[in-house]
Amino acid sequence: MTSNMALGVSVLALLVAFGTSTLSQAQEQELPVSEVAPKIFVHTGQIALMTRENDGATANIGFIVGGNAVAVIDTGGSVREGLRLLAAIRARTDKPVRYVINTHGHPDHVFGNAAFVSDGTVFVGHRNLPPALAVRGPFYTDAFRRIMGEQLLDGVRMIPPTLLVDGTTKLDLGARTLTVTSWPTAHSDNDLTVLDEQTGTLFAGDLVFLTHTPVLDGSIRGWLRVIDELGTLPAQRVIPGHGPVSEWPGALTDQRRYLETLASDVRGLIVRGEPITVAADTAAASERSRWQLFDDYNARNATTAFSEIEWE
């Protein structure tokens, strides 16, 4: 009896919450975006952790308008941010959103996906993205419900891509073709880049960080290899996953130095027989003044790098 009542209250709450979120959806304000190249719009995320106050809007996300359709590149850290991005698109074009491309599966890039679910919209991702979302999705939604609150998390759903990229895929927006490329394990095991050759504009996702401490959730050695390859892409500017839109390939310099320093410090500690905890406390300390959020991510990167490099 009690559990039936609790269920009834829960269902009622869900219905009411759903009703109000539908009401508020229509009224989301446009996310501020700037046109970094003709018909390429970017919202620059805050250099911050995802919080209740910032709607999880910490990643750079954007959209590209072609001759007859729009491609969205990452959807942000909450459904609210996704809806605000949609409002920004609708303020500029009435062409349909044909593709939603997720550069990888981290919450600040995919939590807004639900805002874009509609007939005729194809979700695009790395071939490793569906299993990554399946394994991590429940953990992410639980963890961020705690951090960002029920209200922002309620509508968040893991929406796996149906168009999987393994190598290179071309997406046609009408008189504008995007080249989407999947990469071996680097920042994560499901990183994609999107290149608009017409304007030489590269959406690098979290394969490129500026200002924001790089976040290692894949392979440090793999990432350093991928950086070398990325540098040969024919782009003039990059939209990094975090940090300012920058010129290419100069934007890679700081991140390469950070990762090389981290790898070399960790390697030295392993040779000397130091435990993993010492790496967390000391590796890449010379980089501290050069990055924001260093104390939030460096110990983690060092831990991750240590567990990889000790198998060399």
Partner: protein, 273 residues
């Protein structure tokens, strides 16, 4: 009208939140008494502050790789001996992370490994002494933030090291080789799938696959044995101290939940480095 609806929604939202997410406030729903019953058969817990120490970072930086060090604190003239140490991560899906059996003649005083931490949690270390009593100590770990998850970082390659084993001996500062004191590490390549995630495409649970048994010997004398669970990190790694009995060989045997048996042995470096 809309304003009123919002108010009702948020009020109910708070109730709903309390209803579905008790894990957010572990104090309100402390699993420890139930764990004492399930894991330790409700045996009395004595204060372990003088017996066993547990060290973990206050925040789990990488949720999949959280270092933990257990240190015995019995003084050398204490007639009691530590028989086994159980590590419990209260809020994990499978709280019993590991049970270590300490070899009777190996004098293991320090064990470090790495675990997965899913949530804000108490972590308990329970030592069973030769007096037949249990001694408990605990620490608290905050869950990691950001995109860290207790999951594989390189899912495709997680299995590529399956069964590889490495042994390494470290220098012990301040103790010459004649003391017999040693510090060593064993690494086992294993994906350690937790089995708790559902495959979104097939709607089937990915079966659990992890190292559940590890035994280490110097010649034929047991140094350390571990009974492990899914809370032990991918590629299990155990670093420990022991006292050499003059053995020339160090031997390891690991078993996993699919019945694989991995064995390897190494010559021990006499220098004690």
């Amino acid at each position: 009208m809309r304003f009123r609806l919002l108010c009702i929604a948020s009020a109910l939202g708070i109730m709903l939140g309390a209803h579905v997410a008790p894990a957010a406030t572990p104090e309100a729903n402390d699993p420890w008494p139930g764990l004492v019953q399930d894991i330790f058969n409700n045996r009395p817990m004595n204060d372990g502050a003088e017996v066993i120490g547990i060290e973990m970072p206050y925040r789990a930086e990488d949720a999949a790789i959280v270092p933990v060090t257990l240190r015995t604190r019995l003084s050398p003239d204490d007639s009691r001996r530590v028989l086994r140490i159980t590590l419990v991560i209260d809020q994990n899906p499978a709280p019993m992370a590991a049970k270590f059996e300490l070899g009777p003649d190996a004098n293991v005083t320090e064990i470090s490994t790495r675990v997965r931490v899913n949530n804000y949690t108490d972590v308990h270390a329970v030592a069973e002494l030769s007096d037949g009593k249990l001694y408990m100590t605990k620490t608290y770990v905050k869950a990691s933030g950001g995109c860290s998850a207790p999951a594989a970082k390189n899912a495709e390659e997680a299995s590529s090291r399956l069964g590889q084993m490495r042994y390494r001996q470290f220098a012990r500062t301040g103790q010459g080789p004649s003391s017999g004191a040693r510090e060593a590490q064993i690494m086992i390549g294993h994906p350690s799938h937790s089995g708790l995630q559902m495959d979104q495409v097939t709607q089937l649970y990915i079966p659990a696959f992890f190292v559940n048994e590890l035994r280490l010997w110097q010649d034929d004398s047991v140094v350390l044995a571990m009974e492990g669970g899914i809370s032990i990190s991918e590629d299990p790694n155990i670093r420990f101290t022991y006292v050499s009995n003059g053995a020339k060989r160090f031997r390891a045997e690991a078993k996993d939940t699919k019945g694989h048996i991995f064995q390897k042995e190494w010559k021990v470096d006499d220098s004690g480095i």
